[in-house]
Structure formats: C-alpha cells, structure tokens
C-alpha cells in the first residue's frame, strides 16, 4: 500500500477526520499577561473586559490543576500552547456568506452543517465556530424580529456590553476552579444568547464547534440568558479533525434562567477520541453551569458524549429560585482507550425545587467510565426532591464502569432517591435478536439504543437522529 492509500485508510476510521488549510493568525505561544492583552486587543475589547481577564489570570497563578479525577492524563504544558488563532479571512469581517473563505464553507459542507439553504429548511440558526472565532450567524433577521440576541461573544461585548457585564461570570466566577479560571482569562469566542421577556424562541439555536489548528487550546465561552417567561432550546455539537497531539478544550458555559423561564441545552459531542491505541484525541474539560435564578424557572441539560480521549465535565444546576427545576439526561459512551468522568451537580437552595438525573454509561474496549454526581439539598430548600438513576453497561472485561454519587440531605422535608445498576447485555437478549435475523452488531446497536432511549427522547428531533447513529458508530468493533 502506498502512503496515499494508507492515508485514506486512516481517514476512514474517523468520519470527520480532515483538516482545512487556512493560514492562522496566532498569538505567541505561552500564557502571560501580554498574551491576554494581545487577545483582548485583537478583539478590540473594552477595558472592563481586559480587567476581567487579568483578574482571572491573577487568580489562576494561585490555583493548582485538580487531580482527584479518575482518568489521569500527561501533564499539560500551558506555556507550550497557543491561546489565540483565527482564520486569516477573519481580518476583515465578511458581510455575507458569499464573502467567506470557500475552503471554510467546504469544511462545513463536509460536516453537513446547514449554513445556507439547508439552514432555512431545517429551521436552525447557526452560529458556526471555526477554531476560535465566530464566522457567520444566520437567521439574524428572524431572531431580531423577536428581539432575540444570538451572536458571537465578541460581538456581544461590543454591542451589548450592559448585558454581558451584568451576567458574565455570575454563574462561573473568575475565582472558580483551575480550568474555569483559565477560560476566564483567555477565552476567545463563543455564543451569546439573550431571550427577552415573554419570548418563546421560534427555532432551535445551534452552534457547531470545530477545532482546527494544531496545538490550539479552545477556550469557548457561552452565555445564555433567558429573561422572565421566555423559552429557548440550544443545541451544541462538536466534531474535530484527526490529530496526533492531544488538544485541550476548556470551555465555560453559563446559563441563567429568570422567573418562569426555561432553558434546554443539548450537546452531542463527537470529538476525535484518539486512535485504537489511545494515541491522540481531545481533552474535553468543560465547565457547564446553569443558574435557576428566578421562581419557577427550569434548566435541562441533555448530553450525548461519544468522542474525546478524556471527557471530564459536570453540567450543573443551581436551583436558587423557589419551585425551580433542574434536569440532567446523559449518555456517555467510551470505547478503545477513551476515558470519561462525567455527571452532574444539583444544588437545591430554593423551596419546592425538583431535580431529576438520568445517566446511561456504556463502556467497551479498554475504556473507563465514571459517573460522579452531587445532590445537595440545603437546609432551607423545603419540600425539595431529587430522583437519580444511573445505569452502566459493560462490554468486555477490559473496561471499567464506576459510579460515585455524593448525596447530601440537610432538609427533613425533602426526598432523595438514588438508584444505580451495572450489568452487561445478556446472552438471552442477543440470542433473541439474532434469531430474528439481526447480525450481532445490529443486535447490540438495537439493545444499546433501547438502553439509552430515555435520554435520546429528550433530544430535539434533528439531534436525535444524529445521536442514534452516533451511538451505533461509537460501538463499532466492540462486539465479538
């Protein structure tokens, strides 16, 4: 086989494994005050934003990387990373899609992102992120009509500084843990959503992330604010090109729901997980936190995690408003040498708050999967309740599945129920399916999809189909 063929062979393993040649503007390597000033300067940020970053950086110097997690990883040299890179064509911001770099458009096409006509047909407004800078935002008109702000973070800082100033860092303060603080110091871009009072967002908002340049840590920052009586459903999906070096992704996502508002946040994460031997792959260390600030508010997280070499995230809900509701639905699949340590935190502060956690973990190959969750009912959270269910499925005896729930009940009016099971696909089930004409792989796919059904149901239509396929693809080759 010649080299070319070999390359093609390699690409086949990973559906989205390609990179686009676009010259990048890079900040100098390393992390210091100058780099932060460089980022802030190139994005033409106001002084208060720079102060925010520098404050985070000061704090960061005092922090140590956490190391209590289950999946260990080689030490990251933070001075050896680029903290800013942008596609060159971004120098002068394009006014319309036609002005975009054709190569960029092609990349999106390969990924199947409905940027132009497809977007309209699917009814999705896309704020596509290529590396670190938002490239295009569609459906602006429709959204503006409702008074909805859906733009990149950098644009929001310029155009809506009051909102950003008021809410940025209120859920994930600059003084949070190491990776969140790192993000606060060096974040490049992300999405900003504001739904005004009484507005129900007419479409699903969606961002596709894409990591492109090698050695670029991606530091996205997303802020979603749902004002009183509003509703929004937000989709996030990720794919990344094939790379040998490990890439760090430390995003921060903040959600704020005011009185009677509801936010639904769905993620399908399919970043490069490394090859069969565990080489390469993305480190996905994301901080996601939602604050149910107002009465009767609701935040719902749904995630399908199939990619990344290491996934380490706990989308959380702080239920501060009375009668607020937090939900967490998760499917995490690890295969080969992937590792995941994921779960949620439900912190009940208000009265009559409710939360529900459904977590499904599937591990195959040599992978390791941990559910780690916290349910904390405060002494003032009268009449609150939580229900947690976490099930794990093991395929083969080289992998591991772990459950580490922390349960704290400080209120006698409140109820917490927790259940967890670990099992494998039974021979009987497999036999039954095969008897009816399915091959073993199809049978496993069917059973696994059934196992995950409760979570898949929570996804919006467009995502559900993709996610179901993804579940099948992720487990390919693990049966035998």
């Amino acid at each position: 086989m010649d080299t070319r063929e070999k390359d093609i062979e390699k690409l086949k393993d990973y559906k989205y494994g390609f990179t686009t040649d676009i010259e990048n503007i890079k900040a100098p390597k390393g992390l210091n005050e100058d780099v932060i000033k460089f980022i802030s300067n190139i994005k033409k940020e106001p002084q208060w934003m720079l102060d925010f970053r520098l404050k985070a950086y000061e704090r960061l110097k005092l922090l140590k990387e956490p190391n209590w997690q289950k999946p260990k990883y080689p030490k990251i040299d933070y001075q050896d990373l680029y903290y800013y890179s942008a596609p060159k064509s971004m120098k002068d911001k394009p006014k319309s899609l036609d002005e975009l770099d054709p190569k960029l458009l092609e990349t999106y096409k390969k990924l199947g992102i409905p940027l132009q006509e497809q977007a309209r047909l699917n009814g999705i407004a896309v704020d596509a992120v290529f590396d670190s800078v938002s490239v295009a935002t569609t459906f602006k008109g429709e959204l503006t009509k409702h008074g909805i702000i859906f733009c990149s973070m950098s644009e929001a800082i310029q155009k809506h500084p009051d909102l950003v100033k008021k809410y940025l860092g209120t859920v994930i303060p600059v003084t949070d843990h190491f990776f969140a603080t790192l993000n606060s110091a060096v974040f490049t871009d992300g999405s900003f959503v504001y739904i005004p009072e009484g507005v129900k967002c007419p479409m699903e908002l969606s961002t596709y992330f894409r990591i492109n340049a090698s050695e670029t840590g991606q530091f996205e920052r997303t802020l979603i604010i749902a004002d009183k009586r509003s509703y929004v459903s937000y989709l996030e999906g990720c794919t990344a090109p094939m790379r040998d070096e490990n890439q760090l992704h430390a995003a921060n996502v903040e959600l704020i729901a005011l009185d009677d508002a509801e936010i639904k946040y769905s993620t399908v994460q399919n970043w490069y997980p490394g090859d069969e031997n565990g080489k390469g792959g993305i480190y996905n260390f994301v901080t996601k936190r939602g604050l149910c600030k107002g009465k009767n508010s609701k935040i719902s997280w749904t995630q399908v995690e199939t990619g990344s070499a290491i996934t380490w995230k706990y989308p959380s809900c702080i239920l501060k408003g009375d009668n607020s509701i937090g939900e967490f639905y998760s499917i995490a699949i690890t295969n080969n040498h992937q590792k995941a340590d994921t779960g949620t935190k439900m912190i009940h502060l208000g009265k009559n708050t409710k939360s529900k956690i459904i977590s499904k973990g599937i591990s195959a190959g040599f992978s390791d999967m941990t559910y780690r969750g916290l349910v904390d009912i405060n002494s003032k959270a009268k009449n609150s309740s939580n229900y947690t269910q976490c099930d794990s499925l093991l395929m083969g005896n080289k992998c591991g599945a772990h459950t580490v729930p922390y349960i704290k009940n400080k209120n006698f009016d409140s109820n917490i129920a927790h259940e967890a099971t670990t099992s494998k696909i039974s021979e009987e089930q497999l036999h039954y399916c095969q008897q009816r004409g399915l091959n073993p792989e199809e049978a496993v796919g069917l059973i696994v999809n059934g196992f995950c059904k409760e979570v898949l149901q929570q996804l919006p239509m467009e995502f559900a189909v993709e996610a179901q396929k993804l579940v099948g693809i992720s487990l390919e080759g693990s049966v035998g």
Binding site: W68, L394, N397, A401, I407, N409, I416, E419, T422, S423
Partner: protein
Amino acid sequence: MSEQLQSDFSKIVKTSKFSNEEIQLKKNFLNNFIKKGFPNRKQEDWKFLDISQIIKKSISDLSFFNDYSQSNKIDPSIFVNDLEHNKIIFINGRIEKIDFNFEDQNKIEIIDETEKDISFDYENSLIDLNSAFTDKVFKILIKKNYSLKKPLIIYHSTNDKLKSTNINLRLDFELGENSCLKLIDYFANNTAKNFINIFYNFNLEKDSILKNYKIDKLRNDNLKYSFNNIEQGNNSISETFILSAGSDYFKNEINCNLNGEYSSAFINGIFSLKENQQHEIRTTINHLVENTKSYQLIKSVLGKNSKSAYQGRIFVNSKAQKTDGYQLSKAILLDETSEFNAKPELEIYADDVKCSHGSASGSLDENSIFYLMSRGLNYQQSKDLLINGFLMDVVEKITDVEIKNLITNIIGLKQ
C-alpha cells in the same frame, strides 16, 4: 501535638515491658502518625465527618498516655444477663479478663503477638496511631472444625479514672477451616470524653463463618473509631451488624477482601441518632475472584442536630466475574436540623456482574401516618410504629435467633 505524642510515648515505654524490637517498630508507627496527623476532610474518606476537627472541638486536652500496668476492677453490672456467653473484658483499653468457660479449651488458642507488623496497605493514620500506642495484641485462634457453643462478648468499658484519653486496642482473629465464631462487641462506656480507637483483624479460612455484632447503644460522650479488616477464603461467610446509637461520634470502617471463590459478606447497620451525634459507616468490599457475593443494608433514623454518613464502596476486579453486589441505604430525617450524607460507590472492571445500589432519604411518609391515625393511633404512636418497622427490617437480617432477640430488646423494638 507532636511533642505531647513523643512524651506520652516515652511514658508508655517506661511503664510497659516491651522488647527493644517492639519499641523500634512502635516508634516507626509513631513517626508515621506524627507525619500524617489525624485524618481531616481533605481526605476523601473523611469528607463528611472530619475527625481532626471533632477531636479538637470536643477533647481539647487529649492525652495519649494510658497506664496499662495497673489493673482495674471489673464492674459486673455491665454484663449482658439474658444470654450465656464467653467474655473478653477491656477496661480502659486493658484486657482484664479472657474467659472461654463454655468452650473446649483445646480448640481455642490465645497467642501474644505484640511485635507483628501490619500485613496490608493502608493510608489511614489512625492505624498508625493504634499500632504505636496499643498495649498487648492477642490473637485468638479458633481451630479447624470447631464452632463456639456460645457467643463471645467483648466488653468495652472505661471507669471514672479515665478522662480525655486516647485508648487504642487491637485484636486478631484467625478462624480455621470450617469453624464458626459469633462475636458481640458491647460498648458500656461510663466515663466521658475519651477517644477510643479499635482495630480488629480477621482471617477467615475455607468454609468458616464469622458473625460480628457491634452494639453501641448506651448514651455517652466518647468518640469512637473502629476498623475491621476481614480476609475471606473460599466459601467463607462474614456477617456484620452495627448498631450505632450511643456515642457522640462513632465511625465504623469495614474493609473486606473476598479472596476465595463463593465467599460472601453481609453488612447491616442501624443509625439511631439524637442531639449532636455524628456517626458514620464506611465499607469497602473488594470482590477479587469469581462468584463472590456482598450485601449491605444501612438504615438511619435521625433526630435533632444529628448527622449520619454512609460511604459504601464495591470494587470488582476484572477477574471477578459473576459477582453479585448490592447496597441499600435509607434514612428518615425527623428534624429540620438532621442531616444525611451518602456516597455509595461502584467501581467495576468485570462485565458479567450484577451490581446495584440504592439510596433514599426523606421524612416519614405523611400518608402512612394518616392511615395509622385513621385507625385510632395518635401521632406519636403512628410515628413510633413506622420507625419500628423501618428498623426491624435490618434486625430481621440477623441470622442468629438468640442474638436477634437480644438486639431487638436492646434497641427496644417490637416484633
């Protein structure tokens, strides 16, 4: 604290008859403990109840010296009456009496083995403390094919000479093939504010059965820590029951290694706590080979200002196929100020296993109370009846009928 430890240690060396080797070994343990200090909440296993803080708060003048050269008078009023039994009596941490009157003396051997090192890996600094300051270490050996006719009760008591002192005691048990031991730990502590650190080592050979019942019922303001290390051979069974109700602070830790096929471990526990009590049970069950089984049931009833914690860990090795592991913890919170914490943990590396855990906590069910009151009971009676049923569930798991009745009476439950 380090200076006090050193000086108390040298006092112990003076008053005891340890050999030079023993002293050297103990010194190593002492140095380990000085290095580590009391465990605190930064350590994962001590997250919920921080013993270093609790000791600081309730015993500010803790002394580590305890004169083992003086014998103490045995107060017969502490004995359990309605059950014929063998006795080991600890007073102030000193063994005053070992009495196996009901047994065949040839089948039981008591060995002095003070100089022994610890045979397993541990991080727990309280074991270092125990090993440094413990007096005599006896090993009780039950010979092959012998089942004790009567249960053995170990009395843990202190008299009023003792105050603000750390007591360390240790016993090793070796159960030979096809033997059986029923062991009751009975806590009858009268004096105040001592920190009692107990370490038991069990080795269960093939087909042997161990039943250990820990009864801490009488209200006292001592702090206690108990660590059981259980090694199990083929087809052996261990049953542990913990009644955790008397002391101000009590942490029971059980580490169980299922080394032999078809071995099984059962742990049942009751927390019944009131004013300012803080209790914890932490279990680690290591399923290391095929076809092993474990079952855990822990129930809490929590009154005013009390706090209970349960940390249960089931570990399944990749070789340990066909493991069956189960864990259930339930809590009833009776007051606004009560608190329940749980961390039921599963760590599984084998695929053909059946492991599950459940945890539930909340207040008494209003509907059930309504039902009982509509049938003529008053509010308090209905509440008592529900709690009675809730706890009876755990007591029912005790396999020995005589001991079950004894414990039912001690707790004051109705059948």
